[in-house]
Symmetry: C2
Subunit: 229 residues, 2 copies
DNA sequence: TCAAAAGTGTTAGTGTTACACCCATGA
DNA sequence: TCATGGGTGTAACACTAACACTTTTGA
């Protein structure tokens, strides 16, 4: 089945690179590894791979994430496509994706690249190619979206306490928030279901666990409302 | 100069498609044309072309825009990359860009595709491939950005009246705004320089012309402030 | 002189910010 | 019993939204 339509045009390598964010109850981390192939072998790198012949772009991102880290079913969103001729030794386009990982569910990286390490955002080393630019863009996107869509919950286990949620938002935005105002706002949306359980890992008293109510969120969406922090 | 690094991977056609928005003092329009090559010849289409061997992605978008429409130096921003295998007859990735055109400067499309037509957003016909999806995404992006960055001015001539500016925002958001509140908010940012000239084309009385003050905007940006409508 | 668009302030309501103390518990 | 983090309300302030009349001028 030859398709003659576009054959006069040139073809290009297309890579997919993933910016993987995780939250460890304290700070935002990024999953990196030391690149094992040329060029730039040995440099700190995002997880990436090449788009295959008959593979959807989103699927490629999922596949790369899965084979290199063992993660599956996680939040994955296309970020931007980097297409400068000089960005690599050979001409390669890179479609960047960012992923949000619940690190409780995936506390260890299994079946993937065992050199993968979580590195705190503030201690980011130099990265290979234009990967640092990608990380910065991903972070800006995360900050924007976390305020207008409930994607922050992707970084937490299903049940979480309000102090943890607040820590998460503080880590994302790099600033502290007032406890009472934060609770007021987040609870006033009516999207968190308070459970009867407490998590006592953080204090003697223990903090109540909550769960994000996706059903109610979908209802609100269809009424034209939504999540707004 | 052969570069052996990535040669085991497959290569792909990469297209660039441009969603071109214009404003005619009344409503938002999109520049379309009837596609002149197979497949889907004759269907309404965005302006697109293929990425060449040694061409940066952004340059390709600029080149395509320029050769097909004659526009140059206009606002152009990468939107999203569409990479499903089935999106075209042959496997082609498409990187969508959106452009904002001051239609006063480019009142007629010169030296380009003479079948290009401005079509009002509300009367959008069926488009070829996934182009309608692209248009919708571009519109969402335009709406989001127009409220947080001064990109709306790209759709107006350098000098414009406040009533026109308001019409523009009303067209972007598809709703009417209160005249006094709109003026108050936009003028309170201090980013518009009032000129001594009036534009009498819209009324007997005439409305004062303003100019966007880019210098002051850059100052504000560096102070951490910005444009917020 | 009148039709048509430009221009101008105030008020009520809503949301945001700032702020300090008591509670429950395990060590 | 005390140190630690969890939980709670209110008041000043800033911002938003609603609203109606006067001005200018060309036809």
């Amino acid at each position: 089945m030859s398709m003659p339509f576009y054959s006069k045009h040139s073809k290009h390598y297309v890579a997919v690179d993933c910016i993987i964010f995780g939250f460890d109850q304290e700070k935002i981390n990024i999953l990196l590894h030391k690149r094992k192939f040329e060029p730039y072998s040995g440099g700190w790198s995002l997880f990436g791979g090449f788009l295959e012949e008959n593979e959807n772009l989103n699927n490629a991102a999922g596949r790369i994430l899965h084979t290199l880290t063992g993660f599956s079913g996680v939040y994955l969103e296309q970020l931007f496509t980097y297409g400068d001729v000089e960005r690599d030794k050979e001409r390669v386009l890179s479609v960047a994706y960012f992923a949000l990982i619940n690190t409780e569910r995936y506390s260890s990286v299994e079946g993937g690249d065992f050199d993968a390490v979580w590195i705190p955002l503030e201690e980011l080393p130099d990265l290979v190619l234009d990967h640092k630019i990608m990380v910065n863009k991903a972070l800006r996107r995360l900050r924007r979206k976390a305020a207008s869509e409930p994607i922050g919950f992707e970084l937490l286990p299903e049940k979480f306490t309000l102090p943890r949620l607040q820590k998460l938002y503080e880590a994302i935005y790099g600033e502290g928030f007032d406890k009472r105002n934060f609770r007021k706002k987040i609870l006033s949306m009516g999207l968190l279901k308070k459970l009867d359980e407490k998590d006592k890992s953080g204090s003697k008293k223990g903090a109540f666990l909550f769960r994000f109510d996706k059903k109610k969120y979908d209802e609100l969406l269809s009424e034209g409302l939504g999540f707004e922090l």
